[in-house]
Symmetry: C2
Subunit: 220 residues, 2 copies
């Protein structure tokens, strides 16, 4: 019975990681599209997101089956519940990446030169490392890495605010810049939301490993 449980649990973990890897790949593609101004890469983003959606349903089903068949308790049950929640976060992250792809497509369509803001590149790199690290933290149940991710979320918020201010200045100087700048703001906001989801995953890991609920420690 215990061995069955361990095998099923490893299966769920493997699927969650495959899903995380797919989100990372979609994110890498959309960044590549943005920063090399290559609209052809956007199709790949949608294919990856489709995979994320399919994996979400699989993970959900496996988790429910595992609970029903094996009736896990205590830490094991917490791990399965964490997988269900992380699953939801990863699926939403797929949506954010697709939102970025839509914004990029609009900018390409309008024939707008996508401004290569250094801060946009910076926020994309920060977010990508947060996503990668949140998945590593989940695999290793790494509390200190998770706590570091919570701190990095604040930096991403600051970067987003800085990008908004830059875009407001650009709009003030030239009204032709209003629509492309709004697109850039939407892209920055979606990166920030991706960071929020990575933070949710990190909080789940801390709770799993320590039993400390840090979800509302920061915001209140």
């Amino acid at each position: 019975m215990i061995r069955h449980f361990e095998i099923d649990l490893q299966g769920i973990k493997a699927l969650v990681l495959a899903m995380g890897g797919t989100v990372e790949k979609a994110l890498a593609e959309v960044c590549q599209a943005l920063f090399t101004r290559d609209p052809h890469r956007l199709a790949e983003v949608h294919l990856q997101e489709q995979k994320v959606n399919d994996l979400q349903i699989q993970v959900d089903n496996l988790c429910v089956q595992l609970i029903a068949k094996q009736a896990p308790v205590a830490k094991d049950l917490r791990l399965v519940i964490a997988a269900i929640k992380i699953n939801t976060d990863l699926e939403r992250m797929g949506d954010q990446v697709v939102n970025i792809a839509h914004c990029a497509a609009d900018l390409f369509l309008q024939g707008q030169a996508i401004k290569m803001l250094p801060d946009l590149l910076k926020i994309s790199e920060r977010v990508r490392s947060m996503v990668r690290d949140s998945l590593d933290a989940f695999v290793r149940r790494d509390v200190s890495l998770s706590q570091e991710i919570l701190k990095r979320d604040d930096e991403v918020d600051q970067l987003k605010d800085k990008i908004i201010q830059e875009m407001v200045s650009s709009m003030r100087l030239n009204t032709e810049e209003i629509e492309p700048s709004l697109g850039m703001i939407t892209i920055a906001r979606n990166f920030e939301r991706l960071a929020d989801h990575a933070t949710n995953i990190a909080e789940e890991v801390i709770f799993l490993a320590t039993g400390d609920d840090v979800r509302h420690a920061k915001n209140d």
Copy 2:
């Protein structure tokens, strides 16, 4: 055993509904603050969100305890998992309402007259009814109401796009309007995200009642 389970389940349902009611109250307060230009009402929003956060932890704990103690299967297990997911949605909805409150506070601080866009009032009303109906649909496991909510989400998206276009026109006419218009766009986007969460709840209800996974039927 069965009676215990039913009592615990009713307890969870009651807490989820209390949480939903608190989100609705916070949403009503922030709308009142916005549309009567009354910054004093914003403090109440933060108090309500604090309650939502506390309830989230309670609901999560009760759900995990119920699974561990009673080992529900099939539909009963699905209901508890749905409660865990709806719990997450409601907590995020609290965050969106607080985001709207922050935007409103910024607009008040800047001494900006908040434009009484008819479409902003409309989107707020649509979203409030979607939130209310998604909770009713959960209580009654009402599939047709849930399906109606999915359709109303498209209308909210269209309203949000319309507001963005109106704001872009206003920014083009007067650069002084750039920052307040951006605030209005952020408010509209947060209303739209509230509608997305109500839609998630409706999708959970459909899955609970019919076993049909409609989560990715629309977007792909």
